[in-house]
């Protein structure tokens, strides 16, 4: 299995539902600030390109890279890729050196204030949802049909269907991370 996210930038209305829902499901709706990103404790951050001729946004979260630099640099193996292709954290092995955080070119990790873990997508609740055949919360709440998630190795998966009919780019592809977060930019 190679689980991957899809985000359709041409459909995304930037409503923030996924960002707030991730906080609600994975971080118990806490209002404790996110020490790394400021703002809320959530695995998704949004950047707006205001000075572009046509301004646009990017939603950034863990890309679940197939060649993840965070896995590469982790001294103890706390950061690892599981059998389904998700990049995960094993808290038992994590010493909080934050090498994974400086290694991630997407800035996808943030430091959880109580555990000191370099938190990122997928949160515990979303992992549990996957284990029970549900979609991650960000996909479930999106009102604009701008998200998909699934197995790249399954030809009939929703994500493959959408990839087949979309123009897709990946972020920072030249870095060789082989990210599994597909950004749809058009048909």
């Amino acid at each position: 299995m190679r689980l991957a996210h899809l985000w359709d930038q041409s459909r995304c209305i930037s409503c923030g539902a996924c960002i707030a829902a991730c906080n609600a499901a994975n971080y118990a709706s806490t209002d404790a600030p996110n020490p790394t990103w400021g703002g809320a404790q959530t695995n998704i951050r949004r950047i707006t390109f205001d000075l572009n001729l046509k301004p646009y946004i990017l939603l950034l979260q863990c890309q679940h890279c197939e060649d993840a630099p965070c896995v590469h640099v982790c001294p103890t193996g706390a950061s690892y890729v599981d059998k389904d292709g998700l990049v995960k954290i094993n808290p038992n092995l994590c010493i909080g050196c934050k090498y994974c955080m400086t290694a991630c070119p997407y800035g996808a990790r943030w430091l959880h204030p109580s555990t000191g873990l370099p938190a990122k997508c997928m949160g515990e609740e979303c992992q549990d949802r996957l284990a029970h055949g549900l979609m991650p919360v960000c996909v479930t709440v999106c009102p604009a049909g701008a998200r998909a998630f699934g197995d790249l190795d399954d030809p009939s998966s929703e994500i493959n269907k959408r990839l087949a009919k979309s123009r897709v780019v990946r972020l920072l592809e030249y870095k060789g991370t082989k990210p599994k977060f597909f950004v749809v930019v058009g048909r």
Binding site: N92, Y99, M101, G107
Partner: protein, 292 residues
């Protein structure tokens, strides 16, 4: 443009500096021993051991889960993961090397204080060679550690390990300059220091100039901040002038005539500059620019 705030420049900076002093200081110890120089070896062993310990304090202070360190490392070892990681992560290598250096320099301290019998091991050529290799590797590791953090383009250059070796060597020389008194050794140190100063100037120039011309956007922003932006005053004053130019100028003077006080001044400036260099490099890091 915002600087990275993951690694604190005032915790990781001193860590790198102390690792360099301990590393190249160990090389210096071995070289001195091999050259049959006995002067100040005891004090040097104190300095390098203290540097390792202090360095470890600084690096542990930056950890966000320090209490889990023993459990995590032992767990990782017992699962066999740690061994495998030696081939992937410079930090795994670093933890291993620093542990070794800690033990080896502790043995030196014991040999020079309460356990003179240790000299049977520590004075042996194989021990000294091993010490020098470990010391050198620690210095190299402290460079590759930074340059392998692939989220920060400014750091992703082989120039950093190179610069760290040069700068740490200068630090070791400066430490010796402060400690030793002999005329001959002072002269040797001055000459070595001068050549390394020139090398450091070139390396620093290359470190900031390359991204200014060819770098990815984030690396260019880091370089710009150092050369002409918010960090410029610390870079030019701290790293270039105090850290390189002043010791260079003093060194040229010392070549003509050794002087205790000038030597001390050059050494202190060099040490300070090396610390500021590392702190600034960590501070100046900017994460990759992401966009479509």
């Amino acid at each position: 443009m915002t600087f990275q705030e993951i690694w604190s420049p005032w915790l990781i900076g001193p860590f790198l500096w102390l690792a360099g002093i301990a590393g190249m200081g160990s090389v210096a110890y071995a070289l001195m021993k091999f050259s049959k120089v006995e002067e100040k070896l005891r004090e040097l062993s104190f300095v390098i051991f203290a540097s390792v310990v202090l360095g470890l304090f600084f690096v542990v202070a930056d950890l966000s889960r320090p209490l889990n360190v023993p459990f995590a490392i032992i767990s990782s070892l017992s699962q066999g993961v740690f061994i495998a990681k030696l081939a992937q992560s410079w930090m795994t290598i670093g933890i291993t090397l620093l542990s070794l250096l800690l033990l080896m320099t502790f043995a030196l301290v014991l040999r020079h204080t309460v356990a003179e019998g240790f000299s049977r091991i520590t004075d042996r050529p194989w021990y000294l060679t091993l010490l020098a290799i470990i010391g050198f590797l620690v210095t190299i590791y402290s460079g590759f550690l930074i340059s392998s953090a692939s989220g920060v383009p400014f750091w992703n250059t082989g120039l950093i390990p190179l610069l760290w070796i040069i700068s740490a060597s200068i630090c070791a020389i400066a430490v010796l300059k402060i400690m030793t008194r002999g005329e001959e050794i002072a002269h040797l140190l001055t000459r070595a220091g001068l050549s390394l100063d020139v090398a450091e100037l070139v390396a620093v120039f290359a470190l900031v100039a390359t991204p200014l011309y060819a770098g990815p956007e984030a690396a260019r922003e880091s370089a710009q901040a150092l050369v002409s932006g918010e960090l410029a005053i610390y870079f030019w004053l701290g790293v270039v002038i105090v850290g390189i130019i002043v010791p260079l100028a003093l060194g040229l003077q010392l070549l003509r005539r050794e002087d205790r006080r000038l030597g001390l001044a050059a050494a202190l400036c060099a040490l300070l500059g090396a610390l500021i260099l590392r702190a600034l490099v960590v501070q100046a890091g900017v994460f990759s620019t992401i966009g479509l």
